[in-house]
Symmetry: C2
Subunit: 270 residues, 2 copies
């Protein structure tokens, strides 16, 4: 991983087409717009979604890849991983002088090979929801490019919205994205399990917030291994069995609870 | 759950014996000490631990339950759940006029039945590590007592260290504690899995912190169900399978990953 510092405030305004109007496209689109880039067009396969985002970014909406303008410098592809390959294949044709980047944590830069000349990856590692526009400045952005000159351009764009830009290879980014799934998606699912548990006795999820906040704060100072507390790390069989019983209403969640306890215990023995 | 408000600032100084010198005893002991309660004695089965904490709280250390003083008002039992019953059994004999509370999330108030006359529970729901003395004021404390008069005393003690004191029955507290295991212990284990994953490619855990912080902040505004993002909620099989492969080095963690993905997906279909 290479942290990138550019000692220049000069960030040329980029005429940008945003392919996608989902969570990442929405939040990144706002950040680019606020950094004075010119978002010329927003594509979504759903016209309503394209219109909604385009309106906010002062851009033209479209739901057809055939109507994407050639009059832009940068094409940011922020669509579902499952359609990324098909979109790139269609988009790059006859636009070989343009710069293309995708924003997917798990997709290699090689997806552009043989399809574009100037390309790269701009992966903002954060959890995005359309309804929550967050400050981009501290979000780590991991970038990669086909060449040094493209890298410089992508660095400029990334640094115009974030103070935390790093270069990372596709191979290493796969691990980074897996780590992000654990630290964010699976963590949030643990919150969800807490919420479901509290519902059983009519308690509000809000009472968990001080605990959730401190759990997150704690790993700023201690490693997660050092910060681990609770019945599983002590391997307190009485509590573990009693809590398993409480979860009788959901066998699959019960199985998950047990596997978590075993994995925590196993690491403590090491 | 009943939130307790007492419109009086009068909190009589309690002569307190602290049974235990682990994580909860250490942090709660400091909070009580700072709230001007008189910690007269600290017990731990390890003399070194008793001395270490007693010194900080200006108390006398002991590693023998036989030498616990009778000259106190309140006996706070903050020991491992597995030894709680044995400690209570020994401690309460010949001290029937004293007030006893335990701090265990999962243990019923009934553990005192037939052993003490004035007793209760004072469960501070937080993750405590000895090395991290945290501000107690916002920590929710869940209390329970044998009678209204005991409840008033325990309320006074709890409110002298926290602004967030609620009455909760033992039956409901079991669910609360299970929810806390999910929201804290299992969440922290997800952080740990992220750390292990990053180690594989030599990346620092610190790069996860903005993501971890935002994941925690998000559920202040959205329910965990609404906040869920990532490959599992989209049930993106390509990514899920590729990430499973990356985890080939740890079959048990791989199984956990898969079960998490299935549980997230299942809830999304509902």
């Amino acid at each position: 991983m290479v942290f990138l510092f550019v000692f220049s405030n000069f960030v040329p305004n980029m005429k940008t087409v945003l392919i996608g109007a989902g969570n990442i496209a929405t939040v990144l689109g706002h950040a680019l717009y606020n950094a004075k880039h010119d978002i010329v067009q927003v594509y979504s396969h759903t016209m309503a979604a394209a219109i909604l985002l385009a309106k906010k970014l002062n851009a033209t909406p479209t739901n057809s890849l055939d109507t994407i303008t050639n009059n832009a410098d940068l094409y940011i592809i922020a669509v579902k991983d499952s359609v990324l390959d098909a979109v790139i294949s269609k988009l790059c044709i006859n636009r070989t002088d343009k710069l293309f980047v995708h924003t997917a944590g798990s997709v290699s830069i090689d997806v552009f090979c043989g399809r574009a000349k100037r390309y790269g990856v701009l992966y903002p590692m954060q959890t995005f929801s359309k309804t929550r526009i967050i400050d981009f400045q501290n979000i780590p952005i991991f970038i990669e490019a086909d060449s040094n000159s493209t890298l410089q351009t992508i660095t400029n764009v990334a640094q115009s919205v974030s103070n935390n830009v790093c270069q990372l290879s596709s191979a290493d980014r796969r691990y980074l994205h897996l780590a992000a799934v654990w630290a964010c998606n699976y963590t949030n699912f643990c919150y969800n399990m807490a919420a479901e548990t509290l519902q059983k006795v009519g308690l509000s999820f809000d009472i968990m917030l001080p605990l959730i906040d401190e759990t997150a704060r704690k790993v700023h100072y201690l490693s997660p291994q050092e910060a681990q507390t609770g019945p599983a790390i002590r391997y307190d069989k009485n509590i573990i069995e009693a809590q398993m019983k409480l979860m009788n209403y959901d066998k699959s969640a019960q199985q998950l609870y047990q596997l978590m306890a075993e994995n925590i215990h196993k690491r403590n023995k090491k």
